[in-house]
Structures are given as C-alpha cells and as structure tokens.
Symmetry: C2
Subunit: 469 residues, 2 copies
Amino acid sequence: MLNPATPEFLDTLRDKLPEAAFRMAGPEHLEEPRGRYRGQGLLLAPGSTQEVATILKACHAARIGVVPHGGGTGLVGGQVMQGGVAPVILSLARMNAIREVYPSENVMVAEAGAILADVQQAARGAGRMFPLSLASEGSARIGGLLSTNAGGLNVLRYGNARAQCLGLEVVTAQGEVWHGLTRLYKDNTGYDLRDLMIGAEGTLGIITAAALRMAPVPAASGTALLQVASPRAALDLLALARDRVGDNVTAFELMHRQGPEFLIEAGLEARVPLDPLPEWMVLVELGLPEGLAPEESLAAIFEAAVERGISEDGVIASSQAQAEALWAVRETIPEANRRIGSISSHDISVPLSALPDFIAQGGPMLRALGDVRINCFGHLGDGNLHYNVFPPKGRDRGEYEDIRPRVKEIVHDLAHAFGGSVSAEHGIGRLKVGELERYGDPVKLAMMRAIKAALDPSGILNPGAVLRG
Amino acid sequence: MLNPATPEFLDTLRDKLPEAAFRMAGPEHLEEPRGRYRGQGLLLAPGSTQEVATILKACHAARIGVVPHGGGTGLVGGQVMQGGVAPVILSLARMNAIREVYPSENVMVAEAGAILADVQQAARGAGRMFPLSLASEGSARIGGLLSTNAGGLNVLRYGNARAQCLGLEVVTAQGEVWHGLTRLYKDNTGYDLRDLMIGAEGTLGIITAAALRMAPVPAASGTALLQVASPRAALDLLALARDRVGDNVTAFELMHRQGPEFLIEAGLEARVPLDPLPEWMVLVELGLPEGLAPEESLAAIFEAAVERGISEDGVIASSQAQAEALWAVRETIPEANRRIGSISSHDISVPLSALPDFIAQGGPMLRALGDVRINCFGHLGDGNLHYNVFPPKGRDRGEYEDIRPRVKEIVHDLAHAFGGSVSAEHGIGRLKVGELERYGDPVKLAMMRAIKAALDPSGILNPGAVLRG
C-alpha cells in the first residue's frame, strides 16, 4: 500500500532540493486534453537528474506514488491520477535543456523536459531534421513522447519515437541513475532496457534525458492531395508510390470526406482544393534525394494511378505555401473533431491488408446503433486509423452517452478480430487499462507484471497506469 | 541449482514428443566458429511451438538448463555451454518454415529456424527485400539473428535485426506461449517485450517465430570503392553523400589497406582495383528511387569529394559483376582474417565523431606491445569497427598469447573511454560476460539481473550467457 504525499513529506526534502523545485500544482498539471480525468497530488519540479534521484529515493523510502508529468498532452490519462492515494506530481518541465548537438554524428542529447518544437528547431540549426512530428509538438516534451512511444505524421518513413532514440538517462524507482546516454548506433551489450523504458509510460523508471537521432534533410520535398476510389485504392496507391520511390514516401495520410466537412461545420478555415469533394483522399509527401523534382515524381505517380483506375482527381503543390495549405487540412481535423464533440474516439491499427475490410465492416455495425457519423482518417501507411464516431449534425454527444460503451466495444472488437491494436500510438495510460486486460495476451501481461514487480517492487511509479495497481 | 540433462529425463518426454525430436547432438551443435568453446548437453529438436513449450515445461519442472541453438554461427559462445551442469541443447533447426508472406503489408512470418538466405529469397519472391545481410547468411537462422540482434552490412540504411521485426512468438521459461506475432507497424499496448527478447540471447525466452518487415527494393543500386585520405575524410565523405542522397546511402564500409593485403597473403582471389593500393578506402552503396542513375550520383559525390580533398582515386562499378567484385573484397576479409589468425578480435563501436581519434590512438598503443598488425575495417556509418590485431607476417598468433589479454584490454578500454561499446553487434554470449561486468553501467546490470530473476526464476534459460549464473 502507498502512503499519501503530504506537505510534511515535502518539507523533509527542503534541505535537499532548491526552492525552485517547490511549486504549486497548476491547472496544467491537473487537467488533460480530453477533460475525462482530473489529477491530484503535490508538485515537485526538479531541475537536474540528481534532484530527480533525490526525490525518487525519498518517495521510495516513504512509499509515496510518483506521477511523472511532461507537456501534459497525453490522450489516455497517463499523466493525471484522479483517484487513489495522493502522489507526488513530478514535473520534468524545468529540465528542458538541449545538452549537446553533434551534427557530424546526427545525434543530439536533450533533457526530458525539452519541448518537441525546440528539439526540431535545434536539429534544423544543425542542418538536420528531427523527424518526430505531431499535432501537440508545441507543448509535448521529449520525456513524455518517449515514455508513450509517440507516433505522428512521419512514422511511415522514420519510425515512431522509439526509432529516434539511441540512449537514455533514467532514474529508477529506487532513485538510482542509469547512465545510458549512449550516442552509439550499435551496442549489443545486454538487455535492451532503452526500449523497455520507451513506451512504459513512466511505470518502470523516470526518463531524464535522451540521446536522439537526427536525420538528413531530404534534398527536396513535395506534397500532393489525391482522390482515391476507396481505402483499397489508397493501399494500391501506396504500393505504386513505393515501387517508384522506395521508402522515400515520407507521409501517407488517408482522409474521408467527413473530415473536411467537419472543418466547414466547425468554422475552421482549411479547405480541400478539389471539387467535388472526394469521398476518400490521400495526402502524400515525398522526400527525395538530389536530382529528382518531387512535383515530377508525384505527377508520374498520379498518372500511373489514373491509368490503373486508382485515382481520378488530385492536386500537386507547386509551392511551399500550397503544401502547407494541404497539410493544414489534415492537421486541423483534430481541432474540428474537438469542436464537433465525438461520442467515442479510437486510435486503432490493423494489418495493412485488413484495413479496407475493417472500414467496410465498421460503418454498418456502428450505424446499426443509430444515425452516427464516422470521421475516419489517419496514418494509412502505418495501418493506423483515428476512427472517431460523432452524433449527427445539430445533435450533442451528450445524447449518445448510452451507446458510447457499445461503440467503443464494436470498434475495438473489430480491430482485435483483424489482429489489430486498440492503441496504436496513444498508449494505455489509465483510460485503456481495462482494454489491455481484455485484449492483451495473458502471457505478455503476466511478464509485464513480473517486470513491474522486479523494477518497482513498491509500485510507486505512476500507480495505476498501464497495469492496475 | 540446476540439475543435469540425462537420458532418463529425455525418456520422460518420449510420449509427449514425436521421434523426430530426439537426435544425437552433432559437431554442429557442440562447436562454434572461433573454436574457443566446446559445448555439451543432450539435444532436442522440436518441430513446433507446442513442442518447444512441452520441453520448456518439463525443463522448468526438473530445473534443467536449456541452451537454444539456431545456425550456430554466433561469435561469442552464446550457443555452446562448455562447463557447468549439462543442459538440453534446444535446436530450432526443424522449425524452419516461412509461415506466410504478405506482400501488400511488406510483412512475412518466419519460424525461428528459417535460414536468413531463405528469408531473403522469400522476400525477393514477393518483389521485396529483407535487408538483413551478413557473412553467415547461408547458415544463420532467424531466431538466433533476432536473439543476438544481428547487424551486418545494411544497418546504416535499414537498422539491425531489431528494426526488421514487428512481432514475436516466444515460449517462456515456464513453457507458456506468448502469442505476439503481430503484423502491426504501430501498437502501443503495454511494455515492449519484443525488443526485450530481441538481443537477450535466449536468456529470457525462446523465440519460436517472428513477423518480419520487408522493404521495397530500390529502383536502382550502385556501388563504388573510393580512396579516402583518412578515417576523418571517410566521415566527411559520408556527410557529403548524405547531403546529396539523404539516407539512401545503403552501405558505407571502411577498409584499411591491411585487409586487401591479407587477401593476397591468404591466397584469396578478391582484389582492390586501385593502383597504388590506398591506405584507406570506403565501399559505398546507394539504393535510389526511380529517375536517378546511381553511377551519376556516385560520380557527382566522387567529384565533390575530390574538390574538397577528401578523395583522389576511386572506381564506380558499371555493371552488376563489377559491383559484386567490389563487394567480394569486403566480404572475403573475414575469411582472410581467419586464415592469418588473429591475436585478438574486437567488435567495437564509438560515437561517429570519435572514430578517427580511436583509430589514431589505438595503433601506437598496440604497437608499443610488439610488432603487431592491425586490420581495421567495418561499418563506418554505424560507428562499428572490426578492429582485429594480428602477428607480423610469418609469425604465428600462438607466439603472442601472452599479450592477448593486454591487447583486448587496450582496445576495450579505449573504446569505453570514448563512450563506445565492447560489443557492437556480436553480443555478450559467454565470451564477454566479464567485459559486460567491467564496462557495463552497474544500475543497468542490476535491472538486468532483476528482470532475469523475474522472467526465469530458476535460471534455466541459456545459463551463464549474458549474466553470470
């Protein structure tokens, strides 16, 4: 059993930590983007790895829970503990230094509190790019992005957060520091604890810094928005593009017409420059080596697609401004979704070849429950769909609370039946603990519990996240 | 304490396993490529995952060690247990099926005993490639390649074995089956046990099958062998190539003159087509999208390198046969090394920017011990060098046994001092257990031991490998 974090406990740390580490928890520490959870606890904001270790040692000795907090942008409640015994909220926000950039190695070392946009900026400053990119990049922090193995828009080409990380510095549940900040591309000396910590959502250790890979900037990039006849045609288009440019396809985002229609309904500005508005469309980005013109490659791909009946309409950006306007459509959809208000949102993945069947079967099953609208969009190349269910126009999601559990069950059961995942990129947090128990492999779950008990025997690290406490 | 595997123990399994599972251990199960260890134990060769589970359940109940055996090509003794209590040698060789190929997903499911060359062949048959490539690909098997997180020639572009794997089927120490054979590119549901099993060298579970990523075949490939002024110039050449073609650089292999000289000395056929033979040279391979001619890209890179004083001489392959002849030089060096006979071989990595200093400092330190020759070659783009130390011409390595420990210590101390690894791609096995204890982070080692105890409490899985029993 854990003990509550109290002002008296914090007082025992006053001679070990600087004044700056003691702050009041603000709304940013207690709220989360979807408004489903409200956190509690007492805040500590360490300024160094040693201070994190000091706090963990004390919490370990006193058996006090620790909820790590980065940018607070997680969508599954991993960063806020609503019920239970009050924890220490451990904000990494003050540890936001880019410690070092090594351009000739394509490596940077950043602290857990560094904001993604600042990491991207530091890479650009070194003539490189940091490929992780997602809607919340202006506030999400590296520690949280790694702890949740964040995905985003460039996973197809560059992989998820895991693939961007070479080494970690981690404070254990006992307050020891693992100095694993290697800048090595290859190192086979012992178990891969780096990848175990990545995606563990702060339940196995506290990431305090990371050695991150930078990528070369493609010599030229190009963007197109192409109508496709169906989700299956979208997959054919992906195969066609890869036949021509290999894995220089940087992004491949599917959108159903519902998304752009929501932009209008929600009073947002971004528009699809195709008339009529297609039922299905794909946003394609290529990043090409020197000597190739992306517009020409995209035009050749489009022509081949037209020949094969995959596509009939499309627009290829001829300027950076046009490319940004196309991206704005895709990137503004989540805001439109928020304004419309979903009955239930899902972040599922299925094997690529099962994706058309998933879409074909999901719609009728959900519409049998009522006159719902489905906004299906996402990272098609990764098999990852944001498959969100909304009330009809003019109705409020509050009226549909009763079908919400059944909607979720239908979508998750269907994804699971196709060998898919009920959390492709958002993680488990506290929201999906039950889903993990329901759909997870029991042998895997038993191993997870054994590892949790081995590394955090008192269960102080992010209690109740990922695994039930 | 473990109990020995005995004929009587095997007899208890005769009604649970088919006759084919009972075989005599042959030389291929008891010897390893470097001849430093000789194995022992009784062989079992299951034909299915269920049979592996049956064996593990019985070994777990009887506390009998299990040494998994794939292609037997490991270089650090992970596959042979020389001393201690006789184990079951668990050969996965009969489980060699390619279970399924999913071309539209770029995914294949292969059993642990599938030979790498057969996996490559199956990918080619589907119009794709399986990028893992290394000298032993004709006999190394997928289970062992994943268990050791094998590297090889294409890591720069495609990553190591870890990066080729989407899902695993694993039998635990208790004989349970984790059905983790997902074909998903994104799945954030719980701890990353896949990457924990990969590289654990059979000490945490037995990999029985894997879902593997295939890659699109580049539209065109090109190969060049370029002289470079120094290791630092080689790094400059890599940066220059990446500025032009991004990460379409598939391979970037450094060779010192010593390697090609060994080819002559060892009576091997491959030759460097440059006269005079350069002191340093780089084998570059590009894999490019449609619309680019690799010879032209390589020529442009070479011209830019000449302008900047990075290179003075080189040859660009103008046919597949010429490309293969250039690759033969690189790929025959390990055989030349075997024939010459090294005093000590090393598989180190250092941060890329430290590589020239490592090479500059290592030579004089080693030559202070005696008139040794150094064959320094390897995967420069990964910071991974095979840095092998030989006796002078006409002398036998047996005469240098006394300096062998000191040679190893100098090389490993120096790599470690630069923040490097003493095992970049070969793993720990039994050969480097002491090195891991010496150089490994103590907090990481403590976490490794806790995880080992949690998942394999009786210590039956590959006893003495990675961690001292």
